[in-house]
Every structure is written in structure tokens, then in C-alpha cells.
């Protein structure tokens, strides 16, 4: 069942907020959006890959996300010297109410990436499972299915 106008607006604003945190490199604030029991997936080869059976590009719990964020901000994170600039685009957002203050969203997703002389772009589907918390939302699961996840990719930005 689709969401009402105000819920749709509220959820979209949250997704835009998340995208903006990534683009501003506010990685700690981004990490804070994730729930204690959260999961973060970027499948390899197919959107339907089985994370227990197949390799994946990202498959993390909240600690893993914290490790990722901590690594990226370390002074010797060579892939961040110079830092990449990103523009995360979220569009075509569909919100589905799950009850108990939880929603499932799916959205069209494009990331433009620029670092020194190198540019790249990544597109796909971005899905969130969100839960109401502290007057806003927290991320229970985020899954990014890149269109080209069956192709080799160079050093990826934070998706």
C-alpha cells in the first residue's frame, strides 16, 4: 500500500538528508542514522545474490559501518588523498508502509564521483528499511543494487 502525501514527503526528506551527509563527507553523522541492529548491503553480480553464499561488494552490520567510516577518516586513508567529491541523487521514491512505524522505500539512485582527473558514475536501485526513532527515522537496512554490479569496478565511493 502506498504512503500518504505527508509520509511520502517526510521519507523523501530523510533520504535527501542522508544523501547530503554523504556528499558533505559528514560520515559520522551518516553513521548515526543507522539503527543498532542495522545492515548495509551492496550485492555483487546480481541484486539477488545470497549474502551467505556469494561474494558481495558490501555486507556490513553497524560495527562494520563504523569501521568503514573510521577508516575513511584516518589520515592515511590513501584513497581519500585527495578526497573524492560525490553527488548522490535520489529520485522516483516509492514508499510502502510496513506498520509499527516502519517503512520500506525504493528509489532510483545515481552517484556522480569526481577525484582529481578521474570521474565515474554509478546508477541503480537504492532500498531502505526505515524505522521511526527519536522523532525522526533510523535505517534498519540499506541496500544499493548497482546496475553494473556484475562488472569490475575501480575504488568505489561510499554508496
Amino acid at each position: 500500500m502506498g504512503a500518504g502525501e505527508s509520509l511520502q514527503h517526510e521519507v523523501e526528506q530523510f533520504l535527501y538528508h542522508e544523501a547530503r551527509l554523504l556528499d558533505r563527507r559528514q560520515f559520522n553523522e551518516w553513521y548515526d542514522l543507522f539503527a543498532e541492529d542495522s545492515r548495509y548491503f551492496v550485492p555483487s553480480m546480481s541484486a539477488d545474490s545470497d549474502p551467505t553464499a556469494d561474494a558481495y561488494i558490501v555486507h556490513e552490520n553497524r560495527k562494520g559501518i563504523q569501521y568503514r567510516v573510521s577508516r575513511l577518516q584516518h589520515g592515511s586513508a590513501h584513497t581519500q588523498i585527495p578526497p573524492a567529491r560525490t553527488a548522490h541523487m535520489i529520485t522516483n521514491v516509492i514508499v510502502e508502509e510496513l506498520g509499527d512505524g516502519e517503512v520500506q522505500t525504493s528509489a532510483g539512485y545515481v552517484v556522480f564521483w569526481s577525484r582529481g582527473a578521474v570521474e565515474a558514475r554509478y546508477a541503480g536501485l537504492c532500498e531502505h528499511h526505515l524505522r521511526r526513532a527519536n522523532g525522526g527515522w533510523e535505517i534498519v537496512e540499506k541496500k544499493v543494487s548497482l546496475l553494473n554490479n556484475d562488472q569490475p569496478t575501480d575504488r568505489l565511493p561510499l554508496l
Binding site: 551467505t52 558481495y56 575513511l72
Partner: protein, 423 residues
């Protein structure tokens, strides 16, 4: 140009230095495809990727399309993925199951053994047209060692086991960590980097770079721990800073590193009591623990890199002189606990993915080396670490070296020179 390259090859590899052009010259890259990747044994894939009759997997060898199939009798074959009529690829999916391959262009249909079994409008062909003359071309040589399928585009050469030599022992070590003596290869994760393929294979025996290149990964991991480490703990905290391990140079550019307890946080299988208990029934307590704790890298020149602690292997696919693709396959140990196998998949993915913790820093290093090697005024790449250590073969013909050494890379370059110098 090509003539100059060929006659100049021996001058490019010195005792402890190599010329920058082996990483930057497109003509040398073309010659590598002919003299290395189209001649010696190269790793193709694992039989567990095509477990059932009709299963296939498409790939490339030396830039040429192939298909690895399992035919109806269960035999694994490696065929060129090229219609015998006008040349189209007959199979266009990465994985699948089919007993036949039909060409989209004029409908020629081949069995998964490669036999041409249907030619539409046959009455229009010459009277003496014989489909038996047009099977899909098989790789000139295909042999497998305990499920690891290798191929050679050259009809002549030493048999696979003889070529692998002592490397078969280390393949055994990796495979026999499975209680059933068999592995199951998973779907891969792929990465690419804008630099020469040799930088990856050299890097795999280089233990000197880690604390510089991967400083951020190590520093961030200590207070947090994630993935498999979270599940199995970090192991002994008495890290030796890589002083216990050794390297062994084998033959034909192959080598291995035995970390021997230097990386307890990575060798987590030995902390899975169920796995250790299964292995103890088979091997006794002491040997079982040693197998479970095994932490080795094995390099089979020119395109296979293996990792015991996280249970994966990587296949090097040179694309051009300054572009390389690596396909990383986690593998499960058949008969080992499900949780442990899942931890292997997770640890491997975190380690090697293009969004992972460790390999991305190496990719950054490779890219910067390639950019730096554009400097023509500084022609030579230097190797200095461990090169004065005595190189005396042991009873197995292996040269045992310390941990901090660049000698295995120099042996890769010697194999490179041997292959590149033959017409």
C-alpha cells in the same frame, strides 16, 4: 617497433631491477599476451563453478572468449566461444545451463561438447559439407588438478602437474582444509585498477608494504573489529609484526608466504571449535589445529592468487598495459560448519571488494605506481629488500626466505623473461 621490443627483452630484467617499459609499453603488453598468456598454463576456473551437466561459465583467456562447460557425461571442457561459421560468440551469458549453444547469426547449433549438431538450410551448403569438420575449437590443452582447471593456448609444453611442481603441495594444503577434501567456489566480486597486471602479482608476496599502504585499515580495525573478527575474536594479541612468517620461492615464478601465526586476527578458522573438532577426528588434535590455523598465500604464475585464512582466490585478467581486472572468488570448505563458511565469504568480500577495507589501498598504490612510471628520465624500478639473503634450495627445491623480501617478485620477473625470450 615490435622487432626492437623483441630483441631488447633480455635487457629489461636486471638482477635487482626491471625496466619501466615492462609496465608501460603497449608493444610489450601485446607480446605478453602471446608469449605468456597464450603459451604457459593459465588458471581458467574451478570445476565446482559448473557442478551439473549442462552448466557453463563464460570468460576470457588472453583476451579471447571461452566457455567452460560440463557435458552430459560430466566432463569439464574449455572451448573457444566462437561460432565456426562467421565468428559470433555462441554463448552470451556469464553463467547458465544448456546442453546446446545456438549461434544467433545463422542458427548453427553446437552440443556442449562442442560438436556441430545442426546447420539450418543444409541443402544450400556444398554436397560435401561435413559438420564434423566444424566443432567448436577446444583450448589446445586443458588439464585440471583437484578441480582447478588450467588451460594453455599452446599445443606444446610440459604437462600441468609437472609444470606446477611443488605448487601442487600448497594447492593440496588449501583444498585439504575441507573435511571432505573439496571446495565449493562462490559467485565472485570483481575489481579493476588503472595499472599493469604485474603490480598485483608482485604485491601478493610483498609483506613490506602493508603497514604503509594499509595503515588506515589497521588503525581503524583495532578499536572496532568487524565481521569475522567480531564472531571469532581477534585471536592472540601478541602480534609479532610479521617476524615469524617465511616466504618460499617455488618454480616457474610461483611462490608462497606462510604467515605462521603472524596474523592471528585473520586466521580465525582455528577458533571455530566445531571445525577443529571435525578436523581432529580426521587428523588428530595437533595436525588439525595446524590445518585450521593455516595462513598462507600461494601465487601460481601468471594469474592465480590464493588466500587460505579467508578462503578465496583471485584471478588476474590483464586488459591492457595500464588496465587490469581481478576476479575474486571466495570458496567454501565442503563439510566445514556453515557459520565458518559464511565468515570466509564475509571476510573475503571485506578484504578484496572495490568498496572493501584493504584491497582498495593496493589499487590506489598500483594506480600511483603506474602514474609515476610515466617518468622517462628514471628508467628503472628497484628491488632492495632481502636480496642479499642466501638463496639455497631446501629438500623440496624451495628457496626459503624471510618475511620482508622482494626476492619472490624478482623470481616472477625471471619467469617473465624466460617466457618472453622464447620465440
Amino acid at each position: 617497433m615490435t622487432t626492437d621490443v623483441q630483441t631488447g627483452i633480455p635487457d629489461l630484467i636486471g638482477e635487482s631491477r626491471v625496466h619501466r617499459s615492462i609496465y608501460t609499453d603497449p608493444a610489450i603488453f601485446e607480446l605478453e599476451m602471446k608469449r605468456i598468456f597464450s603459451r604457459t598454463w593459465v588458471f581458467i576456473g574451478h570445476e565446482s563453478e559448473v557442478p551439473h551437466a549442462g552448466d557453463y561459465k563464460t570468460d576470457t583467456v588472453a583476451g579471447q572468449p571461452i566457455v567452460m562447460t560440463r557435458d552430459e557425461e560430466g566432463a569439464v571442457r574449455v572451448l573457444f566461444n566462437r561460432c565456426r561459421h562467421r565468428g559470433a560468440k555462441v554463448c552470451n551469458l556469464p553463467y547458465g545451463n544448456s546442453s546446446t549453444f545456438s549461434c544467433l547469426y545463422h542458427g548453427w547449433t553446437f552440443s556442449n561438447k562442442g560438436d556441430l549438431i545442426a546447420v539450418p538450410s543444409r541443402q544450400l551448403c556444398p554436397a560435401n559439407f561435413d559438420p564434423g569438420n566444424y566443432p567448436l575449437v577446444a583450448l589446445p590443452r586443458v588439464e585440471s588438478y583437484r578441480g582447478f582447471v588450467f588451460g594453455s593456448l599452446s599445443a606444446e609444453g610440459t604437462p600441468l602437474e609437472e609444470h606446477l611442481g611443488r605448487a601442487t603441495h600448497y594447492l593440496d594444503c588449501l583444498i585439504d582444509r575441507s573435511p571432505e577434501g573439496e571446495i565449493q567456489v562462490c559467485k565472485p566480486v570483481k575489481y579493476s585498477y588503472p595499472a599493469n597486471w604485474k603490480l598485483q602479482i608482485e604485491n601478493y608476496s610483498d609483506n613490506i608494504h602493508a603497514r604503509f599502504t594499509h595503515e588506515a585499515a589497521f588503525a581503524a580495525r583495532r578499536p572496532i573489529e568487524s565481521g569475522a573478527v567480531e564472531r571469532y575474536g581477534a585471536g592472540s594479541q601478541q602480534r609479532s609484526d610479521l617476524r615469524m612468517g617465511i616466504n618460499r620461492v617455488l618454480s616457474h615464478g610461483d611462490s608462497m608466504t606462510d604467515y605462521r601465526g603472524d596474523r592471528p586476527q585473520m586466521a580465525f578458522a582455528g577458533r571455530d571449535p566445531e571445525y577443529v573438532s571435525i578436523m581432529t577426528e580426521k587428523y588428530g588434535a595437533e595436525q588439525a589445529q595446524a590445518i585450521a590455523d593455516m595462513d598462507i598465500h600461494v601465487i601460481i604464475y601468471p594469474n592465480l592468487l590464493m588466500h587460505s585464512a579467508y578462503c578465496h582466490y583471485r584471478v588476474i585478467k590483464p586488459v591492457s598495459v595500464d588496465q587490469t581486472v581481478i576476479v575474486g572468488y571466495p570458496f567454501k570448505l565442503k563439510g566445514a560448519p556453515t557459520e565458518l563458511n559464511e565468515a570466509f565469504v564475509q571476510a573475503s568480500s571485506e578484504h578484496i571488494s572495490a568498496s572493501g577495507a584493504v584491497q582498495v589501498d593496493d589499487m590506489e598504490a598500483f594506480a600511483r605506481v603506474q602514474e609515476g612510471l610515466a617518468v622517462e628520465q628514471d628508467e628503472w624500478v628497484s628491488y632492495v629488500y632481502g636480496i642479499e639473503e642466501p638463496q639455497v634450495p631446501n629438500e623440496y627445491g624451495e628457496i626459503e626466505l624471510g618475511m620482508m623480501t622482494e626476492v619472490p617478485a624478482l623470481h616472477q620477473h625471471r619467469e617473465w623473461l624466460r617466457l618472453m625470450s622464447r620465440d
